[in-house]
Amino acid sequence: MSVIRHFVKKEFRQVFRDKQMLRMLLIVPIVQLIVLGNAINLDVKHVRLAIFDHDHSEVSRDLLSRFRSSDYFDIILADQSKLSALMDRGKIDISVVIPEGFARDLGSGSTAKAQLIVDAQNSNLAGIATGYVNGVFGSFQEDFRNRMLEKNPDIKSKIHSVEVVSRVFYNPEMNTYFATIPGIAVLLLTIITTLINALNIVREKEIGTLEQLMVTPISKFQFVMGKSLPFAILGYIELAIALAVGMLWFKIPFAGSFLLLAFSAALFLMTTLGAGLLVSTVAQTQQQALFTAWFFLVFCIIMSGFLTPIENMPTALQYLTYLDPLRYMIKVTRGIFLKGSTFFDLKYELAAMAIYGTAMFALAIFRFRKSTT
């Protein structure tokens, strides 16, 4: 135990002496959380919309004013002959063309047609923006029908319709950052702890101090613990900072148990620190360590469900996500943070993390060699 204590002391001395690194570790995450929390904003609001009304009817003017009063759109005034050039230059996201005769067709019972031209580079965005436009048309249509029905009270009495009453749990305003802040927190935790452990050990290899250590009678377990514990503590500090930013800056309510989160973090840190250690056993230089760790990190991040919900992925890849430790930790953190999920709600995720962490750590200890073959 005392050997490990000396290790922890030494690592902390080194970390706290390297002011440049310390700044990176403590201040940068705060900046990143704040910047990224604001940047990752999938609430599509300012869709730049151009409307070309060739109908000039009361009906089309009604439509126009509905688009204007919607929060989702910024109306761009443009000449239709310049439309294609404007879209090429990315000045307009979507345009609606109401052809001549729109009102006439609508009243007569034949289908009234409107044309939509969408910049579909980002298919997701295109879909959402199209949804908004359809929504405006839909509510316009509903009001139009209602006006028709008002004139025919006998028919109106026979009509039935279903209305949706919705309630949104945990995040009634559906802010994107509720999910992204805990996600980024875990992401940063993963990147920092994996890399720092790998780079730290490989650096000792590069400058030769590792050899001096390997000639001491210290056991593999002591070495691994001595290296990992300080960075685990650092990981906890990072997590605490991230939570504080989420709760104080973004005002996200913390619904669950801090203790459960700390416990989950321990399981998760075993995985990331173990992965860092594994990387250090194969890398000879810090550059190699960085690029090797990169593969692990990219896999973890992409498959975690952070960038894209897992259910959107092809089925085969969905199975692959079970191999991703980050997948569980993001779920667990969001669950505890936002939903107040309990140990029993998350038992499968926690079990998976425990298995992963133990296996990774054991593998790292097993792979680590005090002598070169």
Partner: protein, 366 residues
Amino acid sequence: MRLRAIILKEFLHIFRDSRTLFLVLLMPVFMIFLYGWAVNLDAKNIQIAVADLDQSPASRYFIDKFAQSKYFQVTQYVTQPDEFEDLFRRYEVRAGITVPADFGKSIGNEFATSVQLIVDGYDGNTAQTVLNYARAIVAQYNTELLPQGFEAPIEVIPRFLYNPSLESGNFIVPGLAAVILMMISALLTSVSIVREKETGTLEQILVTPVHVIETIVGKVIPYVFLAFMDGMLTIGIGVLVFDVQFEGAAWVLLTNTLVYLYSALALGLLISTLASTQQAAMATALMLTLLPSIMLSGFMFPIAGMPLILQVITRLIPATYFLEIIRGVLLKGTGYAELYHNTLILFGIGTLFLLLAIRKFKVRLG
């Protein structure tokens, strides 16, 4: 000739360390395949739960509308709506629909019936999507109930420009090329220079009569080459494997890629003058290149949705401009007529970084 000696030395470094070379070339391949396959921004098969309190043919017909939609998948039937929250906490479904007990009876008797939709809001984006889709399905259902002559049909005919197949890949892959180019070049240059600083070999070079500019150019050229190969690899796989469109002219893309690389390498140089250890260089490079290129360039998250201050910052990031260029060339088929100002800005940013780096470099020597 001195320049040649430095370039040669740098190439030797790169090719001797075959593992790094391998990793650097494998990385874009790995990233593009993972991204290309996994990242799909279009929600479908959202899992929902249903509490059918009515259990009538009418209620089942209504629920079927959801089950048959490609957007939803009914995976759980519960007896009580208060079970939904349990399911949310275990992440089993994204939403729950409660059909009231008098649903079947009320048809034909009352003007409207309320169906309750409870959404797990933790992921705001998906929650919004769930709401939109659910409303659209219900609207469709309501139209069916209308008597003849009151449908007032409107057809909105969309035309999807630049990406008619609505493939996420067309959007993601060009962006990925921008990220990879930036990351590889800025990271490799900064780390390799700082490494020489750490081991003292940079001092050795600087005592020779080689001009500072020569040193820098010599160090950087091999990385231009590597990063360029990575970029081509990414775009090549994108076009060949993921069927990404290529509407514009290759030479426009190639020349712009070089200008972009110029700015990326200049940034790498600047970082190398700021950092004193490899670890610090890596951390700074990740901070200043990777994250902004992914998060702030419009790669995945639309710039228009960001707060104003961040929108200003995005204009300082080379990847923002290159993204517009590469997407323009690949998807829109645009050329220099539309893109020249982006090229100029990229060149300007690069030159700015370079001047700053040289100044820093000289200060340190003086």
